[in-house]
């Protein structure tokens, strides 16, 4: 078993970039229209308890890898089945994110370049990053988060010249239902995709309760920034334009024009998207490899990385065959598989883990610090 350890600050940066990742260019919570800021607030309130559950799972597994924790929770074969499900989910998510990036690049700047070329370039980078492991990814995040924050803050500050706050009125004109639809979409993508980070529990929890210090600040900061960016886009483009555009944030930033001198700033959105996307694909493939290794009964995951990473090249073309399909997939309200993996299974793990912990405490036979 490989011992990996990530400091809390780097872990929070990783969570932040993982959530921002490929999500912010899409019309998040578009169902809510001008009330999308309310959707964000509702989604944050709904997601927070689940993020706390993920943190609690990480804390309960302190000192053990996800696979060891699963093994002690469910036994050998059920834990392997669960690991296989999470491995497939992580691989699928990696394929979708790669598809997002290749579709985005083809739609906005390189229309004649085959998507497979960009997917292959990404795959080579991801292959290297995943083989290096979570520590390198976390250090990369801690450096890149500064650039991403600077880019987003500068873009938001410059965008204030184009903002029209009247676009947010009247509030709740269509009632609460669209707000909830938007909130459920946000829960599905991107907030609760952080469930994958439970798979890196061992590396992200250097101290007993550090999972909360990693997940909560990273999640809240990312949610706050996504809300700001999406709200600014609505205020710049208007509700209708925000709803019908594939990449509204890109379009909104493109409108920034400071004295005919500072223009075409949308390229910075592309840079942020590329950085976040790379990190997200890498984390997905890392979790997929680790879980697949556990499912197949191997202690090391590194020999599985190459086939898995190479498979995201065709996978990215398979799950979303066009920009429209990709956009519909990203902004859907909820999917059965996602609900199972993001909500139902973690709740079951948590319930079982707490019951086992209480039994251990009663018997005083084992250490109460782990499952």
């Amino acid at each position: 078993m490989i011992n990996e350890s990530v400091p809390e600050r780097q872990g929070a940066a990783l969570v932040f970039l993982f959530i921002i990742g490929n999500s912010f260019v899409f019309g998040l919570a578009r169902w809510a229209g001008r009330d999308l800021w309310l959707s964000f607030l509702v989604a944050i309130v709904l997601a927070l308890p689940l993020i706390l559950v993920y943190g609690r799972l990480d804390t309960l597994m302190h000192g053990q890898s996800f696979s060891e924790g699963l093994h002690r929770l469910f036994g050998k074969w059920p834990s392997r089945l669960v690991a296989l499900i999470y491995s497939f989910y992580a691989w699928r998510l990696g394929c979708l994110v790669t598809g997002n990036i290749t579709n985005f690049v083809q739609a906005v700047s390189l229309p004649d370049t085959p998507q497979v070329v960009m997917a292959s370039a990404y795959a080579i980078l991801v292959l290297w990053a995943v083989k290096e492991g979570i520590e390198v990814l976390a250090r990369f995040s801690s450096v890149m988060v500064i650039f991403v924050l600077l880019i987003l803050l500068t873009a938001l500050a410059l965008a204030t010249t184009e903002v029209d706050l009247q676009e947010f009125f009247p509030i709740l004109y269509d009632g609460f239902w669209p707000v909830f639809q938007g909130a459920f979409q946000l829960l599905d993508f991107p907030f609760l995709e952080t469930v994958l980070l439970v798979g890196l529990a061992n590396a992200l929890t250097t101290k007993k309760n550090s999972a909360y210090k990693v997940l909560i600040p990273g999640f809240l900061l990312a949610a706050f920034f996504l809300m700001l960016v999406a709200s600014a886009s609505v205020a710049i483009l208007g509700e209708e334009m925000y709803k019908i555009t594939f990449f509204p944030v890109f379009l909104a930033i493109a409108r920034i024009d400071i004295a005919l001198f500072l223009t075409r700033l949308e390229v910075v959105v592309g840079v942020t998207f590329a950085i976040g996307g790379f990190l997200k694909i890498s984390v997905c493939l890392l979790v997929a490899s680790k879980n697949l290794a556990h499912a197949l009964g191997f202690p090391d995951y590194r020999f599985l990385v190459t086939p898995l990473v190479l498979s995201i090249i065709p996978g990215s073309q398979w799950f979303a065959k066009s920009v429209m399909e990709m956009n519909l997939g990203a902004t859907k309200i909820a999917a059965f598989t996602d609900v199972m993996v993001q909500i139902v299974l973690p709740m079951i793990f948590w319930g079982v883990a707490e019951i086992r912990m209480s039994r251990v405490r009663k018997n005083k036979a084992g250490k109460p610090s782990g499952i």
Partner: protein, 69 residues
């Protein structure tokens, strides 16, 4: 094109296996199986770009809906 794809996977697999310090047969077997699956997946998508994504849960849902009716 198909030959190029298959050749690409063969080269990647060959080079990587050559670079391994140890080659336990279980790991080599799993590695080769996964790489073959990936190569097959790539070839299938090259032959048919509109290859449908299997939806076992969707099929189950449709079957339940039929039963309900």
């Amino acid at each position: 094109m198909l030959i190029v794809i298959v050749l690409g996977y063969v080269v990647v697999g060959g080079v990587e296996l050559f670079l391994w310090k140890e080659r336990p047969w279980q790991e080599v077997l799993v590695y080769l199986l996964l790489l073959s699956a990936t190569a097959t997946f790539s070839v299938l998508l090259t032959i048919d770009a509109q290859l449908p994504v299997p939806e076992p849960l969707g099929t189950l849902w449709n079957w339940l809906q039929k039963l309900w009716q």
